[in-house]
Symmetry: C2
């Protein structure tokens, strides 16, 4: 049987399994696995692995074991239930190259429910899309990896190399889930992360720094508002200064290999603000949770210094902040950007698979967000591919994934696994 | 016995009772009677009244009975435990003029505890001051009213007119406590509120409007921050516009009888801000709780219209807000300013008492905050005096009251009661 016969049989199996894939995806999306509440998703994923006879490693993450590793991001919430689940397939005889397939099951908060057309954790399939928080980012991708493997098996084959299928948490906040797999020693000849990249290969991704700016000061009765600091207004002075830093970094990005043609790749986002507790008291405090991107090759420590310098300089120009210095705290992501080396063997395999499914050259992308790929690429020096379906409104309301793109991405992934790991008759 | 002998005996009794007054004040300040949690303060005050053989009326406030009355402010929290406590003294024979003495027992939130030198609800006496949330605003004043009456009794007298001693809630948010006493029918020939006015008579007080500005919009992944609205940044655009309205109103205040000489009497305060829920999601919503003052004689309805017009005009100039109209909601204070009529009989009595205790003319004040006096003055047409001790940092950290000023204010109040109500030997 020729290689293209095998490919046809695998793709036919992807199609045949697609309804089942969507049913499992719906169940996975229905779990409200926001930060700290990922447990039931990890349980479900562990069960899916065991049903498929994977060897399952399900462990609690030990933050202390991670805190000196590259790309560590501090956590402040209860981390006692934080787990990673890895399923391992070991072939009878190893012929091909080993592979890590990784997805994350944590999702960002849904926001106000009244802004959703259908409830975020009641996934709905409509007009060729599945709607729900995490349907795009990235529960459909994680389940697709499982069903790509199922398709190979349904087509009568088994992979001919070791495969770790990894479900992690904290992708949206620190990356500690992916980092924990690297720390525990999971390695392969390449990693593959089916994030919803819109059918593009991620050539480069930004790093992300999260920081909190805390403004504190002496409040007064609003009758004397002129004499006291309004911490809410002062926080805006700092937002404005940080927008200046954002523009400075975007100017710097114009000479970056990967991002020179991307419009405004560095985004500064004041994402959460909380200040004051009484309309008639001049607010004495305001906390701002921010996100700022950095480009591959930029030092996180140097960028942190620039952020602190920016806030300090702005404070010096502000009568109140000059006397009540704002504090910058690092919480969550403190991670570098990552650029996938050109023309590696796994990329070549993915390009072949893409061409078979989509017909044509795999387009590539300088991504303005981060993914877990950085840990495999930077900490473990594994070429780390990121490729997947097309999604809309990830992190927004009415998040959805396009199902036809999901089917194509699943097929591409199945062919890639067959190509990279090799297959043998089962 | 001459009138000045009586006064000396009453003031001596105030001095003699001052340690006991401070002890009761400490107990009263120690109760964390923030909004919704005033019950134990009302219980304590009811007990203090019963110990003194007052007739006690302690009732649950019925919001529906108030909502069509002048100066009503909407409440949104659980109001099921909201109570008013009124103690009534009825003389054997009525000779003098009747009096309402009113204090409020609600206090504003303490804010972050680490910004207090001593815990807010563990009152401490040090260097001639008492520190604690509410020590100034206005638990020391409420207890002073009771001890002013005690002093009259200790000096061997009894008031010769009906007196209602009223402890109310919601002074810091809607005024519904004071309004409930008016609705229930309590009246007297004048009202007296011992707020911490620093030894001044409040000639005029501002009205206060509380409003919430709600910004909503479509969030996106921060990777596409440029394409989505940042509700936190948009809220700042509205703060800026409202600062413009504040200046417009301050310009108008320059021709006001009472406020023409006051620097910046109209204060706009964005007091609470809450927006977004994830550092890496462009925030889709931001709520601002604001306070803005109005001068006596200004129509609240007309001022509300100006606020809405200001927000609407600012929204039209903002690409995102123009498409996603911010909403203005009224919650809390919607109250007018109040000016005490000149040269009424109760004011003359207070001036006499003040001169006896302090020596000299009672200074007066155009107050840039509001007090409950407006309900007695506007709804019930009772001259409503507001006079009391000197306090620091009310609504701030390390709030305190000056004890020597408290003693003087207590003495002045005792002499005022004796003068206004008349006294008879007990």
């Amino acid at each position: 049987m020729s290689s293209s016969d095998n490919q046809r049989r695998i793709l036919a199996a992807v199609d045949a399994g697609f309804d089942a894939q969507l049913a499992v995806t719906k169940d996975f999306v229905a779990i409200p696995s926001t930060r700290g509440a990922e447990g039931p998703c990890q349980d479900m994923f562990g069960d899916l692995l065991r049903e498929r006879a994977f060897e399952v490693d399900d462990w609690k993450i030990d933050v202390d074991a991670l805190k000196d590793l590259r790309g560590f991001g501090p956590v402040e919430h209860d981390f006692s239930r934080a787990r990673t689940v890895v399923g391992t397939f070991r072939p009878a005889t190893t012929k091909g190259r080993s592979l890590i397939l990784q997805g994350h099951c944590d999702v960002v908060p849904a926001g106000p429910l009244d802004m959703w057309e259908t409830p975020p954790f009641t996934p709905v399939v409509c007009d060729g899309r599945m709607y729900g928080r995490g349907a795009g980012d990235m529960k459909s991708g994680t389940i697709a990896a499982l069903f790509a493997l199922d398709a190979i098996r349904s087509a009568g084959f088994a992979p001919a190399a070791r495969i770790h299928v990894q479900s992690v948490i904290e992708e949206e906040s620190t990356g500690l889930g992916a980092l924990s797999t690297v720390q525990r020693g999971y390695r392969a000849d390449c990693a593959f992360i089916p994030e919803p990249t819109g059918g593009n290969l991620v050539r480069a991704q930004v790093g992300v720094i999260w920081f909190r700016v805390r403004v504190r000061g002496k409040p007064v009765h609003v009758a004397d508002a002129g004499t006291g600091a309004n911490a809410i207004k002062a926080a805006y002075h700092l937002i404005h200064a940080l927008e200046g830093l954002e523009e400075e970094w975007n100017a710097r990005a114009k000479s970056d290999t990967h991002y020179c043609t991307v419009n405004h790749p560095i985004n500064f986002n004041p994402g959460i603000i909380r200040g004051g507790d009484w309309a008639s008291s001049v607010p004495a405090w305001c906390d701002l949770e921010c996100r700022l991107a950095v480009l591959p090759g930029w030092s996180v420590a140097a960028c942190q210094e620039e952020i602190v310098a920016c806030v300090s300089a702005a404070a010096r120009q502000h009568a109140f902040l000059d006397k009540n210095k704002p504090v910058v705290e690092w919480s969550g992501f403190q991670c570098e950007g990552y650029a996938l080396p050109e023309a590696t063997a796994p990329e070549a395999a993915l390009r072949r698979s893409y061409d078979t499914v989509y017909g044509g050259d795999l387009p590539e992308l300088a991504f303005t967000a981060t993914t877990d790929a950085r840990y495999y690429g930077l900490n473990a020096e594994m070429p780390s591919l990121c490729f997947g379906a097309s999604a809309d409104s990830i992190h927004g309301f009415n998040e959805s994934v396009d199902l036809s793109s999901l089917r194509n991405a699943t097929g591409t992934m199945a062919l890639f696994i067959a190509d990279w790991c090799g297959i043998e008759k089962s």
